[in-house]
Amino acid sequence: MAQFSFAFPKPGTKKLLVGATLGAALAIPALLAGLLVFLVPMVNKPLLDAFIREKLGHVPATWVGTQWVYAAALFLAGIAMFTFAAITGGIFSWYERRVAARIQSRIGPNRVGVAGFLQWIADAVKLLFKEDLVPGEADAMLFRAAPYFVVAGMTLVLVALPAGQAIVVADLDVGIFYILAVTSFIVVGILLSGWSSNSKWSLFGAIRATAQVVSYEVPAGLAILVPVLMAGTLSTQGLIRAQGGWPWEWFFFRNPAAAVAFFILFISQLAEGNRTPFDLAEAESELVAGYFSEYSGFRFALYFLVEWANLWIIGAVATTLFLGGWQIPGVSAQTWASVRGAGSFPAFGWWALQFVSLGIFAVKTLFLVNVVIWIRWTLPRIRIDQMMNLCWKYLVPAGFAAMLFTLVWQMVATWAPIVEKITALVVFAATVWVTWRFLQQTRKNVSLIAHERVDLSNW
């Protein structure tokens, strides 16, 4: 093995700073989990009714304050979701910069807090205090409005995005279709920011981004149809309930076409989020920064907030559709009901299980977020013709094939359910084998640098 000289924290770091960073690193995930579980009573009507009846002592159906309680609860739920998006976006920005630095043999941000963990707060404060410039020739009204379209497109998605067994703001009947629909506001915002800046770099970036996002919505929609066909519902929670806790009960493994659809969806999401290798819209070497070249201060920060908060959305949508969502292995719908108990308020065990389901969902999502970051700093940017070819000549036909195959597959699976079980086990075994080979190869690659010294003391 390589010789790692590793000192964490760096010698000479003040104890107070170490304590503050460790405190923040432990408190922030706990705070985020608390925020999400806090959503449950806020958006659950029977629970709110029980609260009014038993704690406030009014009859919910006739009391005038009932609607005010509902409105206040929804308001709090909205603030909780927005806070969640903002904080995860901030932490991802720090994480991505650290990973990028490691991949490129640099140090990365390491000044604010231990290992630079508090860098994102410093950046946010800095951007808030910067001057908010509007170019003289720009269309001032649309220039100011454009970032809010982008933010709206991102935050509206959070409404239907689940994170646990009861943790979702609204389990809409049209859930996943709603997510596709509101994402289109991001395109409107991007196009608007590019045009209103009155700068050729911005306009080029905006037009590239629009062409890309509109094109990749087609394969994404086709790939989403595969799990929808398997579950028979568009509701995000319904899609997860149709899967199970064990990996071989996930849609990814149950149908060979679903595995293909997962990769189609993942590639399309990278393209829709303007992530490398699809970051043509922000290509620094050609277009300064693309559609947000002219922005500064707070509005500039909004674009980056959306970019990093989108990482969570990318991971969460893929987890919901293909990777079993929040399902806990061995815990069925009956177990959930029996743990909850018959009282108006759920028993303590039910709340504990909510945290477990949230943890499982978060682990899967963060794994995908990690893959997205890893891809970004490994692959070069592709050309625009390659981007269009990939979408229309490969992903769209493959998406149609996966959809047609799923239609036949569902008939076979209904006729002989054993076929689905065998396929799931075979595909799962194959995945385990590929992962094993991958780890072996990584080990081999690491052993090749055994004679080198790796200096990590500057963390």
Partner: protein
């Protein structure tokens, strides 16, 4: 949710809807008009949701606010109209015809509504407006119009390819 909360929500969506719809007509700059149209569709979706037509609400968001608006903005932007061109009042005769037409439409709608009198909203079942219910109606009762529309779209796609490609 009670009737009063529903009324409040209705006004929250209705007032901006009317304002942005007026903006579509009043805006001098075509891009501003297009943006007003996007926001009008957004507020309209809210009204659809109040009518428990969730699927319809998001279908029109994805179709109008998404695809068609993007195409529309492309056209408007690539025209690159200058302020001088926008200020010209070339079509004054056409404008008056438009005013007469709009006024006539308004009279027609108001008189039709006045004749029908006040009516209570019909109570709908739990599956009203769901994907399942809309799909069933679309593939049984309205199968012919549905298929005719898809043929129309196919013709449009083939037409676009023929126009765009010189040699096929």
């Amino acid at each position: 949710m009670g009737a009063s909360a529903e009324t409040v929500l209705f006004w929250i969506f209705a007032v901006p809807l009317i304002a942005s719809a007026a903006g579509v007509v009043a805006a001098r700059n075509p891009v501003h008009a297009a943006m007003s149209l996007v926001s009008a569709f957004f507020w309209l979706a809210g009204i659809y949701v109040l009518l428990t037509a969730h699927l319809l609400a998001f279908v029109q968001v994805i179709v109008y606010a998404g695809a068609i608006m993007v195409l529309f903005l492309f056209v408007v932007m690539l025209l690159s109209l200058t302020d001088a061109e926008l200020g010209l009042e070339k079509l004054s005769a056409l404008k008056w015809v438009g005013v007469v037409g709009a006024a006539g439409m308004l009279v027609l709608v108001v008189s039709a509504l006045a004749q029908s009198g006040p009516r209570a909203m019909r109570a709908v079942g739990a599956d009203f407006g769901t994907v399942r219910a809309v799909g069933r109606i679309l593939f049984t009762q309205y199968l012919l119009p549905f298929e005719a529309t898809s043929v129309l779209l196919l013709v449009a796609i083939v037409g676009a390819v023929v126009v765009a490609k010189e040699k096929i």
